[in-house]
Symmetry: C2
Subunit: 646 residues, 2 copies
């Protein structure tokens, strides 16, 4: 049973001065609403607008890496107070724009409730030249689905061509028309006065609809994560995003990580169907929710794209992933699959086309390829590192058109698993830890703490390393071993239990679970394992590519977790290489973005396949060099200067 005094409870939630940011942050989160989407998030005061936008799923351009020099992340503050200390760079805003409320999102901190307008040109999506708003040109909107409104000349004595030939004249002679539509055709044409709309997907007719329905065309892009599934409903006619819904993957009931789910199938082949149905059920729940909020009918959803890791994609498709559970970790398929929705049991048009992303190898699956598409990973002028931290951690190094990809078992710790009081990043999770005169913890949703999530784990360890209360081996020091400079309130939190010291984050009185919440010594060990694996993998991939960490021109952080991480903390615990802060960029949920791109454009599908072909899969798990590297990486980096300030 952890020991704690009532006095600390008072300290923990009172306002503290944050030394690092040299400003006061209030623990009450501020409500921020983004227009024109109307999305709302709650953030700690002091949070940069660009970060808050990312949390709302709105990824802004930041080619300069948040240095305030490129001027690409411009937003307009419609209401609320914005504190900004913008440097006067070449692209800084002029006074006229400032007077109208324009600000640089990367340089402007949120101080209280705000309403912020995001101009289309500031969206990261815009850089992809993909339409996500009503306006603008349609050049890049090029989905596999298209609709053709037709009005046929009825047959006559002089023209007794067959119904199918007559239809093909309107929709294209080479269009494949499946049997069910041929069967329906004679009745359809005669009931509807030889007029209607044909829905075509990649050379195949998938539906006939009475009247002119060309403006109605919808698709859903899925990021099928081990833990979380995100679905985005798109208007394929206008290229507009209509809604997003995220759910826990119902496979969770069969195990937290991919390995446990693979083992389930290995033990009992009947489990394969159960796991598939769990995945399909999750997708269908998201579709139902998106339809309920938009009124889009199921049979107007013509396209589905799915990006997931190897195990998720195989389970969704009903492929036994057992071969991923044993050396040498072989995938069932790696080329993209194009399936019919009813083959999977999705509640959309039965003939709708389902695109499943290509995979690279082993545990490097479709979500990584989708992320590479979103990041346009081969089009950077500098060596780039892409890190997608989900339940697994995928690393891709791109340099001179060559790409190397690998996967490490980073996951459970960052998702709160294997952490004694860990939890997912949901309401009540501690997600930020700062140490100054005392400890300041932020919880998600500003609720009493229930546990700590991945970012808090990293923050806590990084802060303890910074103030000298943890050594490079990951050992939390006893109160009497800690440096003299350590504030008293902080020192009091070093609580000996058995032979180890644990660090009190929130005393029981301030929690909803009425239990002290600690960073336990063994939590630090889990962090060392997870961060060490990613770090060792990164080092090894870089070495294979003939690069040193300092050669990297950009480090792209993707994934739900990656976007909430503090760069400085991640560098401090060795999760990220020590590159200049401007080189570290948050690119949002890149897998989800890639899935959207593949749904919106054939070219992006071809690009995905191209990236897949040009990427070499490196299986680190069996590499003796990796084992040595991993052992070394288990030790936290020494306290050199950490380039990033946040």
């Amino acid at each position: 049973v952890p020991v704690h005094g009532p006095r600390r409870a008072v300290l923990c939630r009172r306002q503290v001065s944050v030394l690092r940011e040299r400003q006061r942050v209030r623990t009450e989160e501020a409500k921020v609403t983004f227009e024109p989407t109307g999305r709302t998030v709650y953030v700690l005061p002091g949070t940069k607008i660009i970060e808050a936008a990312g949390r709302a799923g709105i990824i802004l351009q930041s080619p300069c890496g948040g240095q305030g020099t490129c001027g690409k992340c411009r937003v307009r503050v419609m209401s609320g107070a914005a504190h900004a200390d913008a440097p006067a760079g070449p692209h800084a805003l002029n006074d006229d724009l400032r007077a109208k409320g324009h600000r640089l999102a990367c340089q402007t901190a949120i101080n209280g409730p705000m309403v912020i307008e995001i101009p289309e040109e500031s969206l990261f999506e815009h850089r992809q030249q993909v339409l996500v708003s009503d306006s603008g040109a349609r050049t890049e909107l090029n989905p596999t689905v298209r609709k053709v409104h037709f009005s046929l000349v009825p047959p006559s004595h002089d023209d007794d061509r067959s119904d199918l030939t007559r239809l093909r004249e309107a929709i294209g002679p080479a269009i494949n028309v499946p049997l069910d539509l041929i069967q329906a055709l004679p009745g359809f044409l005669r009931r509807n006065d030889w007029k209607g709309t044909a829905v075509l997907a990649d050379g195949t007719a998938i539906a006939l609809e009475p009247g002119d329905t060309t403006p109605q065309a919808y698709g859903v892009a899925f990021d099928l994560g081990t833990t979380t599934v995100v679905g985005t409903l798109f208007d394929l006619h206008r290229g507009v995003e209509l809604g997003v819904d995220a759910r826990l993957n119902a496979q969770i009931a069969h195990g937290d990580d991919v390995i446990s789910r693979i083992l389930k199938v290995r033990e009992s082949p009947a489990k394969l169907l159960e796991l598939q149905q769990a995945a399909v059920g999750t997708l269908n729940a998201i579709v139902a929710s998106l339809r309920a909020s938009t009124g889009v009918p199921a049979d107007r959803i013509y396209a589905v794209s799915v990006a997931g890791n190897s195990t998720m994609q195989e389970l969704l498709c009903g492929c036994d992933p057992s071969a991923l559970g044993e050396i040498p970790f072989v995938q069932a398929f790696d080329d993209p699959l194009v399936l019919r929705a009813d083959a999977l049991g999705l509640d959309v048009l039965p003939d709708a086309e389902v695109f499943v992303f290509p995979q690279i190898g082993g545990f490097v699956g479709g979500d990584t390829v989708a992320g590479m598409v979103a990041a346009q990973l081969d089009r950077w002028d500098v060596p780039v590192l892409l890190i997608d931290i989900g339940t697994n951690g995928e690393i891709v190094v791109a340099h001179n058109g060559k790409m190397l990809a690998s996967s490490t078992a980073a996951g459970p710790a960052f998702e709160g698993a294997r952490i004694r009081q860990g939890m997912r990043a949901t309401a009540g999770a501690i997600d930020k830890v700062l140490i100054a005169e005392d400890v300041s913890c932020n919880t998600i949703g500003n609720r009493p703490a229930r546990g700590l999530c991945g970012t808090a784990l990293i923050d806590a360890a990084a802060e303890l390393l910074r103030v000298g209360a943890m050594d490079e081996t990951g050992r939390i020091l006893a109160a009497d071993e800690a440096p003299a400079s350590l504030p008293r309130a902080v020192r009091d939190r070093l609580v000996p239990i058995g032979h180890e010291t644990n660090f009190l984050l929130v005393p029981a009185a301030d929690t909803s679970i009425r239990e002290d919440i600690y960073l336990w010594q063994r939590d630090a060990r889990e962090l060392q394992l997870a961060a060490g694996a990613l770090r060792a993998g990164t080092c090894l991939l870089l070495r294979r590519a003939g690069l040193r960490p300092e050669d990297l021109g950009a480090v792209l952080l993707a994934g739900a977790f990656g976007n909430f991480i503090r760069r400085s903390s991640a560098q401090r615990v060795g999760l990220l290489p020590r590159v200049p802060c401007s080189s570290v960029r948050f690119i949002g949920n890149a897998a989800s973005m890639g899935a959207k791109l593949a749904m919106l454009s054939k070219d992006q599908r071809a690009y995905a396949m191209d990236l897949k072909r040009r990427t070499e899969h490196v299986d680190l798990s069996l590499d003796p060099e990796f084992q040595a590297e991993f052992a070394a990486a288990m030790v936290f980096p020494t306290a050199d200067e950490v380039p990033c300030a946040s």
Copy 2:
């Protein structure tokens, strides 16, 4: 109630001398067996070997039209007496061959039980350069189905390519692998030591089989007739025919002809499914019978081809044929369909490929195209007329690469329907009628007569016209109106009933039904309608093509009925144009042959599509010129010389 005397009963079945052929034929049929297939038929003595072979489904080459000049129909008499009076043409057999039993099938009549060997090179199929025997080169055997035996290198640390990529390396990178096979693949490869056989159909993998099964590949070709369905089981590996089975189309229960079946669906849409299932049930019964006699497993049948008329093909595919039941007679589809067997419910491999023939227009359907393929209709140096007489009669004129096709409602009379004592050409049907001193009737299977089939209808009318007992208007003359030269026994058969005269064919005592069998006056009217329609259609098509009947270099008779017709009789009643006898050729069940060719060779499928594209459909039914022509054709031709002797 017909009137008859007992004396005539004796005359009818006794041996008579046949004036026309100047030889005695015995009414007892002779058993003829053909090797190497072992097929057996019973034929009237005096029947030419080439005709007997045709009845056994073995079509011999006869480019000279049975004149004994080309020498292509050579066979070897293994046992039994053969009477031959072969002319000494340039290709006549030399004495050496004659001594070894070789004969020309077109010049050799059967006198008693025989066993005849058919050399491969004499087969009509051989002219198609398609393999139907064990021996010979495989150049022309080019089915869409092929099998690839593979032995894959198992994955290793250095080679962790996916199972699908590994398979595709063996079967071809562009092969489409459907989801069910992708799902089965990981288990299949690991259970079978990374070896097996893939079955590919036209770029798609349709099955995976353990071991090397490349020699096992089967297909069924169907001639889907309104009345009769014929299925042929083929060994696609060797190009060998394994068996033939024919059944009544179970749709018969819903009406005899296509119009009555179309009306059924128009009255009640639910009938469509019933009719489809009746057709599928018939095909499945044939498959079951072919499998039972050969031991071929259902899941080794990879290909099915179907040639039927428009209504049959549409009903089989579950398309509502109602538009064929009203002006302007429009087909649901005309391009060929390639379907999955399980979409139709066929009891073969579920993923087996079903090829449904292209159609030309209106009632000119896939069976006509198949017949054109079998006849290579565009490759003749002379103007050609193809007539396929089934329940409907299809006519195609080909000249200078241009083709015109039409359909007439010839059918029911020739199939025995609408004939008062008519029946199908099955056991007990009178199929041949000769008039000399008295009447000689042959029945199928040498059984007591039950009724008359289409050929007997034509024979009887032609003979009555020839001996002057019927006038050109089709009226059967009363006994006192008949020419004086008419033998007494024949005259006695002109039996007045009411205001009309009918012609007694078989008295009750010699029948199995204990009832006199007549050619009724109204039967002659039905014949006039049917033959008149075909004749008028032929005239009109020829005129459209800028041809006169005498320009025709060849008249090809196809269809079950066409092959049993006597040319002279058919010309006498105006069913066939009066071309020289050598120009009239029996080409067997051309639709069935075309279906086989499409199953055995992709090139033949492309050829079918090519012929379809180049053929203009002429709808005669609404043509005022046709109505006038039809009215004129209702009168039988005058008694000019009939060129054909048989």
